[in-house]
Symmetry: D2
Subunit: 355 residues, 4 copies
């Protein structure tokens, strides 16, 4: 531990502060022989980039692969990827050096380490997630060889609910077409307007991300503490603003009867529902894997707030700098990446389950 490594066989270590020299990751345990290029990484990083609408820092992140790839294929050795930080406006943060922004990690990191890089949140910045997306791009390539596909989307944003999977209006194609990553056009516009409104008020919005995994065979996950759902929960809750996760019927399952919640077979062998979210006893069942994760509104708002400073005084602050009014659409690619990391690891671990 000390927290910057994820995985057992397919192991990812990330590093980097928001306003430091570079962000990066090292992927250890990627099997040899996988075709991989910087373009594979960049394609995913672009999906994570802010839409113009969000007003966040313009990140033209160019990944460089430093190791682990030769003649376009992975070597089985660690794959190091870095992205130089540029376009930082560290001065924007000068006023925040001695004050703890509400809803941020400023105070807690100071309490833990006694010292911090306050510029842009340092290591606790959302910018850290680009390393996850870079590593996730590699994991996704492994998954695709097994026919596994991960699709996440914004299912609720700024209080506006999108149609659920299978409901009228839900359109997979739409997700990548709009910057909010929602699966329906009309509500996309409505939500966009609401976000603009919040921006003008100096406020922010949260939302819910849904994630669907198709093509995963039965048998993935390691009992009893590294169950598939436990690992996914850990993976997704480790994303900065995430405040909750539920699998299949989730919290609603708590109010159902067993006869309602069990995924029953019909006479023709079809399963009538997927309340379990594709996971039973912590192991994939071969059904689609499905979960939802809740993201809180961006804590950085420009409205004046009261905050504690390093001397214990209460001061009023107005947070400057470029902040996403809503990070949910960008977190979609991060949720996918973390899901990919979990599954790639389990696919490799599953090879050791039987003689």
């Amino acid at each position: 531990m000390s927290g910057n490594t994820f995985g057992t066989i397919f192991k990812v270590t990330t590093f980097g502060e928001s306003h430091g020299a570079a962000m990066g990751c090292v992927i250890d345990g990627c099997p040899a022989g996988l075709e991989l290029s910087a373009a594979d990484i960049e394609k995913e990083l672009i999906r994570r980039r802010p839409g113009k609408a969000y007003g966040s820092r313009d990140e033209e992140d160019e990944p460089e692969i430093l190791s682990g790839v030769y003649e376009g294929k992975t070597l089985g050795s660690p794959i190091a990827i870095i992205v130089r930080n540029s376009n930082q406006k560290s001065d924007d943060y000068d006023e925040l050096k001695d004050i703890y922004r509400p809803g941020h990690a400023d105070f807690t990191w100071q309490a833990k380490y006694g010292f911090r890089d306050h510029r842009g949140g340092g290591r606790s910045s959302g910018r850290e997630t680009l390393c996850r997306v870079a590593a996730g791009a590699v994991a996704k390539k492994i998954l695709s060889l097994s026919g596994i596909k991960i699709t996440a989307w914004t299912s609720s944003v700024a209080g506006i609910q999108m149609p659920s999977l299978g409901e009228a209006g839900f359109d997979f194609e739409e997700i990548e077409r709009n910057t909010l990553r929602v699966p329906e056009k009309n509500n996309a516009q409505k939500a966009m307007a609401r976000i603009e409104e919040l921006r003008s008020e100096g406020d922010s919005a949260g939302g819910i991300i849904s994630c669907l995994v198709t093509g995963a065979a039965a048998g993935l996950g390691e009992p009893v503490f590294d169950k598939l759902d436990a690992r996914l929960a850990s993976a997704v809750l480790s994303i900065g603003a995430c405040k909750g996760i539920e699998f299949g019927a989730g919290f609603a399952a708590a109010g159902l009867k067993g006869s309602e919640n069990n995924d029953m077979l019909s006479d023709n062998g079809k399963i009538t529902a997927n309340n379990c979210g594709g996971i039973l006893g912590g192991i994939s069942s071969g059904q689609d894997i499905f979960f939802k994760a809740a993201f809180k509104p961006t804590p950085s708002i420009s409205k004046p707030q009261k905050a504690l400073d390093s001397e214990g005084r209460i001061r009023e602050i107005e947070i400057k700098g470029r902040h996403d009014v809503c990070i949910v659409p960008r977190a979609v690619s991060v949720v996918e990446a973390m899901t990919a990391l979990v599954l790639a690891d389990f696919i490799l671990l599953a090879r050791a389950a039987r003689l």
Copy 2:
């Protein structure tokens, strides 16, 4: 990995099948000098035991400490604890040898390992959680030395909602008085009646467990993948029937504005809310830590169900054996135990954060 170990410094490995010789755990990394006896373990195991009302197997579990304790104090060496299995009625499971119970791990474990102990669910049985409670008893003793107290309770069961923390009627004292572990007397009776009704129908119930941690100092948790919330999520979702978790305002936070969700300071330095659940940037803030977890209804119901057998045929089964109509009240002590394991580990890890 292969999933049966939890923790980094305070590391717990559990073992045992429901109808095998014994259940047990090994705790490695418990500091030397802690006073510990079998009675400390048994006290927690009793809290996990089924109330008579639930109809489950009568487990008079006597823990034996095999190692790691000398003259009433921990040695710093591994603490092995076993509980012999007795009172198994393995014959009850003979009919289930070749059929996969709906909502259970039967099919997925068979898919993973190609071989399983079908009796009582084998390793995937809820009985496995007694090892967690045993280990949690040790962790709790460490926490109590730091003034940390964990209290979990049933906040909703069989569709009946209990008063929330701070609401009228909520009574901490009541939790240990009733077998449902609910914080209010009247609703306890109502829920008990509802559970009886479900039993007579051959059905089952789920519920929601709330967990409150008081006394935790700021600075616990390891960024970025081993955040306090990520680890707690992993810990709690690894409990068999758990389908979701949320911290602080949780899923509701997704619909709030930043100015509503940020835990603001009032003029006198009091924090107005605890929407963050005591965790910011994955590290404890010094506020109370608070989360809720959803548990699905027991999948074992006596109502006839259609199920797949090992030959791929659909058959009708009626599940015999002794099953809890609702496992939520028993899971309360398991949630506490897992929370204790996470915190004990982080307390020891925190010692390495600074020079």
Copy 3:
């Protein structure tokens, strides 16, 4: 960590103090489907038992498998094995409660933990190695499925050198015939006589163990820190009295020229030597794997010695109790066991090396 677990996929955790209730181990990550019985374990434990000649405690260790095996086959879940301690004579150690025996872990463990079980060395007793042998028995079964065979023997004891592998007189069959585990009859008797002499003088002897692994395919080992030789070194040096290890030509290689030390090919494709010990770049080459390990003489001698006590005074002690004059013959099975643990782990890890 805290040191009581070995391995990554095939993971073994051991527990137990010499005079506590029981010794044991938990093997996590053993693939499902392996035939396994208590008799398999006992067979190896018997090989570790003291010959009558050594005068050590009579250990009729009966292993009990508590979990992980059903109907004679492994389940893929943790395999817990315990052996009850009996025949302890704890009173023999009363005088040692407050004094640190020379050459023993007494002082260092006290320094580390501030508290210890002094009886029989507690956790630092050689008795701990029986757990390794039990786990090694399981690992050996896995190896045998891949055609891998491990043979260790005493190649030098009490200063008497046995013929080396390939030299005149070396006889594999002889190893299991004599209690010293030496590969030649005549020197066995000579060494036995020398050991008797040392016993009568109240002194003790050390020796060297050689280990040969045949049948290992090329490709085992994980670069760069978990090289096959690095892991074997860690495994073997973790045995109490071990003070050194060398692979292939070992220390002698340091004085050779490259042209002498490189294992050259002859015209017909035969390799002329095995100076590398079957390992190149930390990965098995497909040749036989070969190493030697040095074991110091038993520190417990009955001759009077000066020792430090817990008050910092120098006192004279005469160590009572039953002690092996020479533990080397018993360590032979432990060296084999540790080698088996390393290889079983690498065989499972190797499955993840390529796509």
Copy 4:
């Protein structure tokens, strides 16, 4: 695992191929508040650089710290350090693409991964050790705060034995004065001449490195598998050309009597010897820690050799490129670095040993 990470709390992951874009490491778990600059790293890298005499590639390695340090102090977050590769002469290796050099990892890595970067040995190149030295520089700074000092030297090279620690002629000051890192002037010249002779013959030399650690308190090391000597053995044997290690009296101890080998106290409380090498029961005793490690001669020699090619044919090769006739002097700083990594980790782990 997959082998590129070392440590539990103070965890180092290295990456990079010899002729790839860069070498580097990520140090996770370094406590916050340590003063650190690129100059600290470079100072150690210079010590690892080849002397002109060795004829190896001229490596003017400039380390860049990418993360984890702010305003000259560590943040507690991962410290990523990279060194760009330059001055590669990849063409020198064209002929080696399909042939396996004797004594090298070429064949074994091909066997493991089915694919490799043949240029300069790729990941199995000795160049990988610069990452260890970089990380070791950080570990040494931590150790120095505890008063721990590590000194390694060449105690035997090209068959020429240097005076041992404490013998006449041994001079600590001399070690850093000569490029062979030997502790005596006269033998340095003799050895240098011998190495020149070997170079002219197209041959190479090995040697032995001694390592002394002073100032380590009693109590470092984690029983039973992560003993201080087991971890050091693993650390040092993971260095490419290392073939053996021994602690204290080492292999010689195997031939001593217990009464000779036990480190006895004299009447005035002085310990008469340090046969245990400062480690008892796997835990530091407070005495000096001492071990020796054997390094084989460089396998790359320019003399013609027979070798296997990828088609299974035997061919004659003459290895071109720049190769150290003897890598031992350069390995001195690597042995120090690995020792530092082990000790830094144990110092942090020791904080969790007691309540």
